[in-house]
Symmetry: C2
Subunit: 274 residues, 2 copies
């Protein structure tokens, strides 16, 4: 999927919402826990209930790896299910990978070829030759960690002048175009989104941390939106664990719709002519 197609979906759905599929067996509704394939079943119902209001899904790989082989099967089935039934959705492997060249190539093969993800999150610490092997897969994206939304982001990402996260965003633009590179830009500090947007005016930003991690959608739009929206805003726990009853999926859908409605208004406010 290229950026124009992604923007097209945003306009069609009036949404730039990504739902994070951080599925844990302990947190899913009781009635699903003892099923044969409970994690996939949960994901499937969440996706069916939310897809009208989202443009993207983001399974976090850790949650699947934690269940070993069975987890990987659930992940593959989830990606296949979304791809088959809702082919317009952008599917992000939240993997935060990054290793030397030949290893990153293997990861790229795993996520882009074997599993048909659209994008993978990549950590920048090891530099250019840990990132570029993920590039050059037509229609596929690297989403590089710029500023993350966790407390530990303060430990290293703000070191140096200009701060490390800004140097990551600047330098990595020599490695790839905005047609295959996005940035993770933490939303718990929305004003800093403005600084990131200045450094990367044309890139899509994946904004985690709206919802359970805090962060206001209006602030994110104010500081982060560009002329082609340029935002994918994620919410995980605030949607998928909003309710634990038999009606969990319906409630998840309602929560997603609430965010979509807010996004609709923000698109109207910031992109009035489109």
């Amino acid at each position: 999927m290229n950026s124009q197609q992604l923007f097209g979906e945003i306009l069609r759905k009036r949404s730039f919402l990504c739902v994070g599929l951080d599925t844990e067996i302990e947190k899913i509704p009781e009635h699903l826990k003892n099923g044969e394939d409970s994690i996939f079943e949960f994901n499937k119902q969440i996706v069916d209930a939310t897809q009208a209001f989202t443009i993207a899904y983001k399974p976090n790989l850790a949650f699947y790896e934690a269940y070993g082989l069975k987890g990987w099967q659930c992940l593959e089935k989830t990606v296949q299910y979304i791809r088959k039934n809702y082919p317009e959705q952008f599917i992000i492997a939240d993997a935060k990978r990054g290793d030397i060249g030949n290893t990153s190539k293997m990861y790229a093969k795993a996520f882009f070829e074997n599993m048909d993800f659209d994008a993978i999150t990549v950590a920048p610490y090891m530099g250019e030759d840990s990132v570029t092997p993920f590039l050059g897969h037509k229609g596929k994206w690297v989403i590089l960690l710029g500023l993350t939304s966790n407390k530990g982001a303060d430990d290293f990402q703000f070191l140096d002048t200009p701060p490390l996260y800004q140097q990551v965003i600047k330098k990595s633009q020599f490695w790839a175009s905005p047609e295959e590179l996005m940035y993770v830009a933490g939303a718990t500090r929305a004003s800093i989104l403005g600084d990131i947007r200045k450094l990367a005016p044309n890139h899509f930003l994946l904004v985690p941390g709206v919802g359970a991690q805090g962060g206001s959608l209006a602030e994110v739009a104010k500081y982060g939106m560009n002329a082609k929206c340029g935002l994918i805003v994620n919410s995980s726990r605030g949607i998928i664990y909003a309710d634990k009853s038999q009606g969990f999926a319906k409630v998840a859908g309602e929560k997603a719709k609430e965010l979509r409605d807010e996004m609709d208004d923000l698109l109207t406010a910031f992109l009035p002519k489109i």
Copy 2:
């Protein structure tokens, strides 16, 4: 395994060698390629042939994930095989993970509980709360990326004064003791190992990059060894792909023995009284 046990194995084997199991189907000998379980079969033969000369094995996760479910099965089988037959070996998941707290906890569960690895490599970019969830598993270790051995290490790891990799090593010592924290310390620049050793006098250092990535073992020992050795030196391609004939495992064993013999001499030279 605690550090005293690890040092005990180093003295018993007269070796601080780790063999990297970066197994790719394209690179294994022809006669194994069409087998039912060729990657595991390759690993098994490599391990059997080299274990007398090594104290550790390090499967790089990317190479297994690239083969999807089948890859994970091979990885699990490989870990189980080593654990069962050579329980004294230290098994490192070269995963370079690192994510927010609850996610890292899931990874810790995957690698330490489900798969019984002894250690996992972790990337520092996201800071303390991405690292600490891996701690507190008795006898298990975090190996934090300090200085990596790839070209891209220059992009960010040397930024700021003191350089970022030194700040990572300093700050992370507040998070964990040398009984559960090691560092990756790239060997392509052996003199810098001396700087790392000064910052972390008591920590084990995992040194990649001896062999195919370059780096001299004598230099590594000179700059990196402490009173309890404190080194685990990895070689991957130089051992496992040294030969592609039917006799590949025998040659791998010979290559491992060559490195062990050199390590034996270096242990004698630098730790003469033990």
